[in-house]
């Protein structure tokens, strides 16, 4: 009888171990794209960052950011957001009127049109516009990405009565034509495979795990 119980216990322990090993398939690692037509790789590293590269002929795409795993889903978010914008209001006693400055995050002037209380002004060379007004109710910042012809409008309310220097900074998508912007997108995980759903830019992609470590291992003889 004792032998039988022992055998059953061993069997149970083996089954538990097998199930645990079978289920534990950590997402961390490098995955390569399963495709004859395209090349690609996605990497999830231990510190919670991921990166993606996909290419096919003239077409190249890249993204990177933070990831978390929830059940059989991986939720990804890009570092960059297409609508990232910062508005800074300051007071400059040397100014008569209001000065608007439009830059990208690298400090380069940004082509834009400012609609201030329904009057339209183009910013001047160097992303600057100075108007001899003492205050305004609202400014609409209209930027043009000439490559994708996307127009967006950001409304800035004039909150501080005593501010006269308005700096508007935003992401210059011209610098990121090949970047994919993800915002809490869900990927499916099944075994060693990760499934990217089809969207307006990307086709459905399937990646298979090729390495459990993000580190490049030196080959030894």
């Amino acid at each position: 009888m004792k032998v039988l119980v022992g055998l059953i216990k061993s069997l149970l322990a083996f089954v538990v171990l097998f199930v645990l090993l079978g289920c534990s398939n950590p997402v961390i690692g490098i995955y390569t794209l399963e495709s004859k037509k395209m090349q690609g790789r996605i990497e999830f590293n231990q510190s919670g960052y991921w990166s993606l590269d996909v290419s096919q002929g003239l077409w190249n795409k890249h993204s990177d950011g933070k990831w978390i795993e929830k059940g059989n889903e991986i939720i990804i978010k890009s570092i960059l957001r297409i609508d990232t914008i910062n508005v800074l209001e300051e007071y400059d006693s040397s100014l008569i009127g209001v000065r608007f400055m439009t830059f990208d995050f690298e400090g380069l002037p940004y082509d834009s049109k400012l609609s201030i209380d329904n009057s339209e002004f183009l910013n001047t060379v160097g992303g600057e516009l100075q108007l001899s007004i003492s205050k305004f109710k609202e400014v609409k910042f209209i930027s043009y990405d000439y490559i994708r012809k996307v127009t967006d409008t950001i409304t800035v309310k004039h909150r501080m009565v005593d501010s006269n220097l308005i700096t508007i900074k935003r992401l210059n998508t011209f610098r990121y034509l090949d970047y994919l912007f993800y915002d809490f997108n869900k990927l499916k995980k099944s075994g060693k495979r990760i499934y990217f759903p089809k969207d307006s830019i990307m086709p459905k992609l399937v990646f298979v795990k090729s390495s459990s470590s993000g580190a490049i291992k030196a080959r030894t003889k």
Binding site: K37, M38, W59, K149
Partner: protein, 202 residues
């Protein structure tokens, strides 16, 4: 050609209208192929005569269906035709990428400064031309290469055609072309001590 004109074979036997049609089609096909090969020759000569240096490199990587790449080498300033080892028809892969090189030469394609490949000017018409060029050398035989077919390979590009002379329609810079916009951006980046995002043939 003479047989078609006379309507008889070399023994004087009259050819059927079906046979004449088939031969006429064959001749037309060969003439088109000949024209295309002449085009290839003239494009290679244009690349050879260009002040832009074009280089060819073979290396690891790629897949059987994605076996080449055109890139910019920011260390040398050369445009590189990369042929990957996984190519099953290196001649066709070279023909495809050389077409992209000619597109760069003629302002139809811009390249990322970082070496990542093509950028703002790339569109379906560029890729269709390149696949058709590869087809001339035995790749994707019998396939009707069009936008739908290229899309089916996973690429989602702008329809085009877009080249350096295409207006950007940016209301802030009336009359501006893509070429000017890229050069203006390049000048701005350089003036701030930064490398450009992409390069075009100058």
């Amino acid at each position: 050609m003479n047989m078609i004109k006379s309507g008889a074979n070399k023994n004087g036997k009259v050819l059927s209208s079906g046979k004449i049609d088939r031969m006429t089609n064959q001749v037309a096909k060969l003439q088109t192929q000949n024209e295309n090969l002449n085009k290839v020759a003239s494009e290679v000569i244009a690349l050879d005569n260009s002040k832009q240096m074009y280089d060819v490199k073979e290396g690891a990587g790629g897949t059987s269906d994605n076996a080449g790449k055109l890139s910019y080498d920011n260390q040398t300033g050369n445009v590189v035709i990369n042929i990957f080892n996984n190519s099953t028809n290196k001649f066709a892969t070279f023909a495809h990428e050389a077409k992209h090189a000619f597109q760069f030469e003629t302002g139809k394609v811009s390249l990322l400064w970082s070496g990542g490949g093509a950028s703002a000017l790339a569109d379906f018409t560029d890729e269709i031309e390149a696949y058709q060029r590869g087809q001339l050398f035995g790749a994707n035989t019998g396939v009707n290469i069009d936008e739908g077919w290229v899309k089916g390979r996973g690429q989602n590009m702008q329809s085009g055609p877009i080249d350096v002379n295409t207006p950007t329609n940016n209301p802030l810079v009336p009359g501006e072309t893509y070429g000017q916009a890229i050069l203006n951006a390049t000048m701005m980046y350089r003036s701030r001590g930064r490398h450009p995002h992409e390069v075009i043939k100058q």
